[in-house]
């Protein structure tokens, strides 16, 4: 069931050190890389169908194509390692076990978009992982893999800087991340009407998730066909799927897209803990519509199948919920998270998350009524599509799905 591309070296002792990384194929894509033109690299990545692994699933190659050509301003690659979505803990595996794969991916990507400085924005809590990535960068600099030249022979200057976040979920949103990198509060930016690249101090920039960048060296080395042989036609390749909650083997597992969710739970996840029965799964980080146990039986882990079943694949980080857990508690726990993490810029989000939190508190106290559920759904609809970023619509997705799929659990708390 496992298909190890990105995670190939994870189990090798000391895989994070340059010596072990080099002995196990890291930086082996670089010679091929520099035999291609940057446009050829981008075309190969586009042909591979590589999709962003940070949650949105947008195609990676077409994103690179948005970088302006022949622009006198310096271009930048910004790697999004803010990883804050509840249930998601995959990028840290790359930081911990194969930081040199990330650096190799950064070399490939920077060459393709002609950027000579890459920033890796890592969430502030990941101190251990930040130190590890910095150590790997130092090793790569000392070995002249990056710096003035690549591998001491290819004429391409590259600097990599790790930027530590300060504990704000919203900085995982790419424009909020750039605001943060510019030294400001992490407030998402208004999006342009047409498609264009991102802007870092008015310089062209591309923002990609850590796992996306770590998937690039394999595509450079083995070509698009080497990637599309895994997965489905529309969701090619592999993804680091995660599973947490009351299961026997919580963790991160790399699989090709297209496996059944229930198989993932039972085989790699080891099934439910002794005496626990499956009630529901929140599929890809906490912001995706919840799936009931029946829906889990039918769910297939690729983008299109997940849309068909009324949810999304998101980050691939599944949270498993057992029969002993009240869905009202789940909703309350998650809305507390979102209320705390709303950046406060847009009123529907700032006030809506707080409002739902208050209503759920009232329901849990035993003072609620069926009317409150309608109010929650009403607030959800007010939050949807009326804000700068997708934070509020994501809150609507999860809360609305819990209320609509498990109304009976709320009824228990109503007196009348």
């Amino acid at each position: 069931m496992l298909t190890k591309i990105v995670s190939k070296n994870f189990d090798i002792p000391n895989s994070h050190t340059l010596e072990v990384a080099l002995a196990n194929g890291r930086y082996s894509s670089i010679d091929k890389l520099f035999s291609m033109t940057p446009d050829e690299v981008t075309a190969e990545v586009t042909a591979s169908g590589l999709r962003g692994k940070g949650g949105g699933g947008a195609a990676c190659g077409p994103k690179w194509e948005l970088m302006p050509k022949n622009d006198p301003r310096p271009a930048y690659l910004i790697v999004n390692g803010d990883e804050s979505e509840p249930g998601t803990f995959k990028d840290r595996q790359i930081f911990q076990y194969d930081p040199h794969l990330l650096i190799e991916g950064i070399i490939c990507t920077c060459y393709a978009i002609n950027a000579h400085h890459a920033y890796i924005y890592i969430r502030g809590e990941y101190k251990f992982f930040i130190d590890r990535v910095n150590a790997a960068i130092k090793e790569a600099l000392d070995a002249k893999i990056i710096g003035e030249k690549i591998m001491d022979k290819y004429d391409f200057k590259l600097d990599i800087t790790v930027h530590r976040g300060g504990g704000a979920y919203i900085c995982g949103e790419k424009s909020a991340l750039i605001e943060s990198l510019e030294g400001k509060r992490g407030h998402p930016r208004l999006k342009p009407a047409g498609k264009e690249c991102e802007w870092f101090f008015d310089n062209p920039a591309t923002v990609n998730n850590v796992e996306t960048i770590a998937s690039v060296p394999n595509i450079v080395e083995n070509g698009a066909a080497g990637y599309t042989k895994y997965g489905t036609a529309k969701s090619p390749g592999t993804m680091l799927f995660a599973i947490s909650g009351p299961v026997k083997n919580p963790g991160v597992y790399e699989m090709a897209y297209g496996n059944k969710m229930i198989d993932f739970l039972n085989i790699l996840g080891g099934g439910m803990l002794e005496g626990k029965k499956l009630k529901a799964i929140i599929p890809g980080g906490s912001s995706c519509p919840i799936l009931t146990a029946d829906e889990v039986q039918r769910a297939v882990l690729d983008y299109e199948s997940m849309w068909d079943i009324g949810s999304t694949l998101g980050t691939g980080g599944m949270i498993v919920i057992d029969e002993d857990t009240s869905m009202v508690d789940v909703a309350k726990n998650l809305i507390e998270f979102y209320h705390h993490e709303s950046c406060g810029q847009c009123t529907p989000c700032r006030e809506g998350t707080g409002w739902i939190d208050k209503i759920l508190k009232k329901i849990l106290k035993g003072d609620g009524s069926i009317e409150d559920l309608n109010t929650i759904l009403d607030v959800c609809s007010t939050m949807n599509g009326k804000t700068v970023c997708v934070f509020a619509p994501a809150v609507k997705d999860i809360i609305e799905s819990i209320v609509k799929k498990f109304p009976h659990e709320f009824n228990i708390y109503f007196k009348n």
């Binding site: 998601t88 251990f128 930027h163 530590r164 976040g165 704000a168 030294g183």
Partner: protein
Amino acid sequence: MNTFNYTPENELKFQEYVTRYPKIDSCMLPALWLVQEQEGWVSPEAMVYVADKLGKTPIQVYEVATFYTMFNLKPIGTYHIELCKTLSCRLCGSQKIKDHIKQTIGIEAGQTSQDGVFHLSEVECMGACGGAPMFALNGEYHEKLTIQRVDELIKECKNAN
């Protein structure tokens, strides 16, 4: 007037950060991290100091320091326990861990113990869901916590203090 200064070592680190970005503005978070690593918290005086260094107004530093939850805006205990309260940890028993810590140390979330040794914070998802329940102790992750393990760690802190 200003009582805060970087140590010479941190001043060197700051100067290195300045070379890493297209504009000095980007040094806001790195500069605040240096303050917190030096002092354990970010005082108003330190914010004014950072503002001077970055060519910003104090309010511009204040709005950033208060936006990001990891900056301590007042002094906290020697050992900072950041207990994850979000869903995966909650489903795996974080409530029991919290109750036990509260009982053992005698503080609520958000409080510092009277002897100044411990500070307990309840925080949102730390990205350790596979190791739930978990807390960070002065930034170091401790996963798959049991009551016994919590007791050991608390004891280690007390002994070291």
